[in-house]
Symmetry: C2
Subunit: 175 residues, 2 copies
């Protein structure tokens, strides 16, 4: 038996749970977030369980469909001008993008699958866990895309929740 550190065990269990839910029923992802949780998704910031789940269930589907059309020679758009503030203790509404406030979960693809290339976990000075995932995802028959995601996990009332979540597709302006 390998003596696996506690944070490795908790981190890898979380990662497995997260992507399993993501690939099978994203509407259940709210169970891992709290109202103080922040998601930065391709440069856009959201706070709170509801705003995050809404983003992950509706907007992400549309975005990935669009990204699958992007070649690696294309310039990644600068989303900074669309960012909203993300302050603890302040509920920030999802951004106005036509679909981000829509709770209709009908998706433009029928399935999505994540494949994890590597994952790392570390304890933080404040007894949280930092997890970083590098992997690939595939939506329906669209091209495989690399992605990068980081989480901070915190134990609150004997349960581990995700307080911070950052996601980026690995799309560079090669050349």
């Amino acid at each position: 038996m390998v003596d696996q550190p506690l944070w490795e065990h908790i981190g890898s269990s979380f990662v497995s749970h997260y992507y399993h839910m993501f690939d099978n029923d994203r509407s259940q992802l709210g169970s891992i977030y709290i109202d103080a949780s922040c998601l930065t998704w391709e440069g856009q910031q959201f706070q709170g369980k509801r705003a995050i789940v809404e983003k992950l269930t509706v907007s992400l589907s549309v975005y990935l469909l669009l990204c699958s059309k992007v070649t690696h020679n294309s310039q990644v758009s600068d989303c900074s001008s669309m960012r909203s503030s993300c302050i603890f203790g302040q509920q920030v509404a999802p951004q106005k993008q036509g679909f981000s406030e829509n709770s209709d979960y009908s998706l433009p693809f029928t399935k999505i699958a994540h494949s994890i290339t590597a994952q790392d976990h570390q304890p933080t000075p404040d007894c949280c866990i930092l997890s970083m995932v590098v992997g690939q995802l595939k939506a329906d028959d669209d091209p495989i895309m690399g992605f990068h995601q980081s989480f901070i996990l915190k134990n609150i009332n004997d349960a581990w929740v995700c307080t911070n979540d950052m996601f980026r597709l690995a799309i560079h302006n090669f050349g």
Copy 2:
């Protein structure tokens, strides 16, 4: 003037400072770490200012040289068996790899340059800052490689230090 949140300002300043030092004089990187800092570098864990700087200055140079020979069709090696423990309050010695305890800073390449594709920053519940960077690096005339890096920054005695650092090259087993 855009009203930039404090964590965005601190995080982006850190990222700029970090990669400037990295590309120009890595031996100065010790100034941003403390003895409790953890680095997970391609799955290998190091703790403490000295072990981290030693890894970044000597081992990284050799590793990047080797990685530049790796094609995207190659399987990424599993470094898990080489990992050392990374526990706060316990100094972990750098791993024995022939060169990791060597303080000779002569490098197998003359220059390295990072290009940042995207960076994100968030406040954490414990008043730290989580920063995530997606970018590309180039060592001498070797092929450009994508990379992912995550940091946690903490304010200690009115100075921001890096307590957690994770680095991965974006090498997937496509296919």
